[in-house]
Amino acid sequence: MSETIKGYSYTKCQSATATLNVLLNTVLDNAGINDQTGKRKHRCDILVLGYGDSVTPLLGTVEEPLALPDLPRHSLGRQIMHIARRDPVTRLLSTEEVTGPYWIKEVADSKRTETGKAIAKAYEAVGRWLLADNTRKDTRPAPVIINITDAQDNGSENPVQKAIELRQLSTTDGHALFFNCHLGTTGTDGLTFPATLNQVDDLFELALQHIAPTLPMGTITRSSQPTEDEKQLRLEQICARQLFEMSSPMPDIMLRNARRTFGLQIEAGARGFIYNADAQDLINFLEWGSLQDRFITTASREEVG
C-alpha cells in the first residue's frame, strides 16, 4: 500500500485512509441524533482492521466492532476535509471544505500482507458480535465486510478459505457479505463487478496480447519462455482470481445501487469485487458498499488543532 496510486501523487494507503475517514464522517452524519441520549443513533457497529505483517485494530484498541454512538469519542483529532459532492437531484458537483474528526492514520511499513489472518480476525469479531446479543441474529441486517488491498497477498493463511468461512456467518437477513477492492498500479485495465471467472481471465489475456510481439499479418505469437512482464501478469491474474473467489455475489438492492453509483451496466450475479481501482473507484466502491445516500467524489485530509 506504500506505492503511488496510478495517476496521482500520493500512495494507495493515503488514499484509502482519507477516504475511510470521510466515509466514517458521512456514516455519522447520516445517523441523526438520538433524542434520548444526545448521541448519534445506533444504526450500525463498525470495526476497522489494518493488516500487514500483523493485524491491528484501527478504531480504538480492541478488535470489537464499535457502536456508532461511541465513534466520536474515539477520534484521534480533527482534520480538514476537501469533499466534492454530487447533488443527487441536479447531478452537479460542488466542493466544500469541512472540518471534522478523523480516526485512522495511514501505516504502510510492513513486508508481508497477511490477508488470510485479517479475514480470520474479521470472522472472529463478527462471530463474537453475533453471539454477544441474542437479538442481533434476528434483527440486524447481514454484516458487510469490505477488504481494501493491493492484492499482494503473501501471508501464511489461505485467504479464499477464510473468506468462504466468513461468508457463512449470517443473520436472518442473509449471509455476511464480503467485498473486495483492489487498488491498482498494474498495467491492465480495470474490472468492475465481474460475474464470472472468465471475465477475470479475459482481462489478463487481453493484457498479454498487448505485450506479446505481433506478426505483420496481425497474428500473435509467444516465445517458449515467458518474459518478466508475462510472469508478472500471471501473478496478478492469480491474485485477481483469488479476490474474485473471495467476493460475495451482490444482492439485488446493492446491484441497483452499484449501477446507479458507477453508471455501468452490471449483470445479475456479479460479485462485489473491483480490480485495479483508482481513488475514484475506491470512493464509489465504499459509497456503494456502505449504502450511503451522499455522493462523495473526492476526499483528502490534513490535521488541524
Binding site: A18, G32, Q36, E97, Y123, L191
Partner: protein, 567 residues
Amino acid sequence: MSRSKQQHHQQVKTPIQHPKEQRVDAPSQRHPPGNLLKTIITWYERNLLFFKTLALLGTAVVGYLVWKIPTGRWSILLTDTLVVLVTLAAVSALNGAISHWKTLLQQKDLLRRGLVDMGLSSFMLGILSLSLGILIHQSDKDNLLNATLAEVGGGISVSAVALLVLIPILYPKGKVSNRQEKQVASSIQDLSASELSGPALPPQPPVEQTPDNNGQTFSHSQQSLAKHQEDSERMASQQPTPPASPFVARGFLFYDDPLYSLPSAKRILNFSGGTGSVRFFLKAKGEEPSIKSEDTGAISKDGRHLALCDGLAGSNLSRSWAASLAQYWVENPLLDTGEKRLDEWLKQPKETWKTWVRETWLSTINARNSALSEAPLPADYADEVIHGGSASTFLGIELWTHDADEGLYWESWAIGDSCLYAFHWESALQQWQCTSQFPCESREDFTNKPGFISSRNTSARKPRPHLRKSSTNNRSYPGDIIIMATDALALWLCMQIEEQRPEWQELLSLQEEDQFDEWVRHQRASGELKNDDTSLILIALQDQSSWIEGPTEGKRSSDRDVKHDHF
C-alpha cells in the same frame, strides 16, 4: 465486465490533493463575514459572568470614589458615571431576575444556575440601593433615610456575595440538584443496555479449528464464544434493578413533553349524515415503546383536521420535528400547494422546533448527562443539531360537510410516502372498492428516498419541496372508510389493493391498542409488513346498519380516550 481506461475517465473526477500539497486557507476565508457577529455573540455569552462581575466592580469603585471626593469637578464627573453604571446595573439586574424566574418556572435548568442568577441579581440590587443612598447622601447629609438605604444596600450586597460563595459548596458540579435531575437519574437506569455501556467483552483466547454442529469448519472456538455469551448474560443479570418510580415506569425522557404527545386513541365524529369514529394506532419498530417511534400524528380540537408524519431516521430529532409539523398543521392548516406559501407557513413550526431544541432538549440531555456523570453537551451543540436539520414526511386531511348533503367531504395534502386510502362498500358487488389512493398510487412509488419537509432553510438553487394535493371535493358516505398510514403500512395496503387481497379489512375491527400491536406483530412475523414504525389513523363513517361498531361493541377504549367532535 472489462472497463477500459477511456470509459474509466468518463466519470467525473477531481484529483485528491496530497496532504502536503494542501494549503490551509486563512481564517477569514474559512469563516465567512456573516459568522463574525455570531462568534462575537457566542464569546460574549460564554463570558457573561465575567462582564457582569466587571460591571459590578466598576460600579463599586466609582461609588467609593464619589464617597471619598465629595466636591469639585471630578465629583460631578464621577457622579454622572455612577448614574450610568447604576442604570446599567439596574437593567442587568432586571434581566437576571427575568432569566432566573423563567428558569424556575420552566423547570428546565439546574437549581445551581438559578441560585447563581439570584445571587447576582441580589448583588446588583444591593449595589443599586447602596449607590442611590450615597448619591442622595451627597446632597442631603442630614437625611437619615438615605444612610439607612445605603446600609441596607450594602448588607444585601454582602449577603449576595456570601450566597455566591456558598453555591459551589452546597451544589458541587454533577450533584443531582433538582427534581428534574432526579427524574432523569431514575429514568436513565431504565434505558436499554444498548444505549448505555454494556458489559465489557472479555479477551478472546487463540482460535482453534473446530467443527460446529453442522459439520462446518468454525475457526473461532465455539467454546470461547459460548463462554463469552455466558459471561455477558451473567454480567447483565448482575445489573442493579432500577428503583420503581413513575418516571422509571415510563422509562424515557420527554414522555410528558407536548411534542411527544399522541392523539387520543379514539374520537367520535358527528356530522350531518351520521356519526363516525377516528382511531389512532401506533406501533414502534420492533418492540420499542411508542415514545421511540419517529411517527407521530395530530388531530385538531374540532376534529376537522388530521395529520400524520413520519420523521426520517437519518435526520436529527425527527420525532419532535414531525410533531411540530403535525401539531401546527391541524390548528393552522396550509391548504395551498405553492412553494412560497409552504416556506412562509413553515416559519412557525421551524421556530417551535428550534426553540425546543435549544431550551428543552439540550437542558434535559445535559441533566441526564449530569446524572450519569457524563460530560455536558456544549451550548452550541443545539445549533449544530439545528444546522444538521431534521426531516419528515407529511400527510394531512381536512374534513367538512355541507348542510344540505349527507356525507363527508375531504381533501388531502402530502409530501413523501405517508399515504391515504379511501374505501367504499359496493353493495351490488358485495365488496370494498378503493376510491382514492394518495399520494403513492403503486408499490413502485415507495422508494428508500421519499419526499420530505426539512427543518433547514431550502436553498434557492435546489428544488424545493411542495405539497401535493389530492383531487378536490372528495366525498365519503356513511359506511365508508378513510385510512391514513405511514410508509410500512401504506406499502402493505397498496399491495393488498393491487393483489385484491382482503386481509386489510382486519384493520376495521381493531378497537384497542393491544389489538393493533398484536396484529402488527403477526404481520411482521409473517414477513408481510416491514419492521418499521407503523402508525394508522382510521376514519370510519357509520350508518344504522354499520359493521363498524357492531362486531366489537362493548370493546371500546375507555371513556378517557374517547372525545366527541361535532361539525
